[in-house]
Point group: C2
Amino acid sequence: MTLAVHLERGRQQVEQALDRALPARDPDPCRLVEAMRYTLLLPAKRIRGIICLTVAEAFAADPGRVLPLAVAVEMVHAASLILDDLPAFDDAERRRGATTCHRVFGESTAMLASIGLLAAAFRHLARNGRTRWFGADDATRTVAVLAEAVGEDGMVVGEALDLAARGRELTLDQLERIHALKTGSLFIACTAEAARLAGAGPAERNALETYAKNLGLAFQVVDDVLDVAGDPARTGKDAGADREGASFVRFAGVEGARRLAAELVETAVAALAPLGPRGARLGEIARFVLERDR
Amino acid sequence: MTLAVHLERGRQQVEQALDRALPARDPDPCRLVEAMRYTLLLPAKRIRGIICLTVAEAFAADPGRVLPLAVAVEMVHAASLILDDLPAFDDAERRRGATTCHRVFGESTAMLASIGLLAAAFRHLARNGRTRWFGADDATRTVAVLAEAVGEDGMVVGEALDLAARGRELTLDQLERIHALKTGSLFIACTAEAARLAGAGPAERNALETYAKNLGLAFQVVDDVLDVAGDPARTGKDAGADREGASFVRFAGVEGARRLAAELVETAVAALAPLGPRGARLGEIARFVLERDR
């Protein structure tokens, strides 16, 4: 199977599960479910969900074992996008090729939709914790890992540090720390947890954690490049929206950032060595991240 | 033990557990943990947490069995207060006798603190799902029940309906529906789940659900009365902050709302009949809700 077919199949599998995980419409006269579905189901790469499925495939585990996690992580990611686009953050107009959630539904509904998606992610993991593939112990552990990736050791502190850094000069360490928390923690959490669910051994799990850490950062660096040098018609979001924030391009210039992204991807691929041939597809996915900028 | 001593002991037990459940300070140069601790730990009644402990006591269950739930529900409640006070909602100045979170820490940090507290609630349940008193099955179920109470079948849709109703005339049914979702769903979830954890039988659990439903609504009606007729020095929040929203006082006047609250409390107390003498303390707590207005 080519990478393109693998990605497309994974994307469809994740999106069908996302579609089923929320009610189809609002039972009440407000547009909350509509707002939740709007940002969650707009066309997207589903890279986090696909990585979960690819890790399961690498260890010949049933996809049902990681699908609840793939759904939950995409829900958390969508919740974070809604938040990120709000006037108090990036005040963005476009996301996933469409008008941002708060500009369609209003700011307060967007905030509630973000919280609703976060609750839906944990509910989905917990409700699925009684299936053949995914038990209560799995659900409990996965909820803990995902909640840690969101909370004050993860995503929200990355966002807070990013805001606090606006307009300031940062060292590369500081910049990496912000993105390790803001984007990396969710990437690492879903990859490492998928590896555990798929039955990977300790060495393989460490390898995948290093892979995810570097890939998450590469993803962010490429995002920063696309933010200044990308075509909004292809990126689907505002150009220059993150200009004020902690950007690798501001730090190293466009070419420096491109070199950094390539290095991070090579580090991610090299980290897969303990997996042997099992890691091939994950290596292809890492290299694909750089393609977004071509 | 008098009711006052019972409430004070419960309050202390819940607050000590809350204090331990979050890091003491921010590891990074931002004020996120500080903002989370600020609203969470300001002096509060802890009525939801105390109900969990009281239900455990009624069935002679170890308090450790319901304490994770008591902590999680108070975290979710604090997260909802931060959100409720934001400019896009009530734009409140005072809460729990102090300046609101967003007016101390800024709007974006307050939003992140609200999401951080929500994540902390689920993390706390999941991390405690391996203790002697509270297993993985308990944690999984409790996460699902609490997430349902927060999500698009609960709190956030109540908030959305409340916003959509601003300035409109509502029927009593519509008003009750908004508050059943906005406040009631969390009240019912924690009471019903505490009952299950404490080993209550089906009839007792139904009784406690009816108790929680009526008590939650009574609590909201009393809040509405205090909002127009209360002393801000005692309520600890802005007078008239909810004036625009769905208020029982706007519907029935101050005296009508007081009568309604008294009726709801009597219904809550009457619902406890299947518990016999075990329900006495919960009955006292219900009547205490009316005391707040005296």
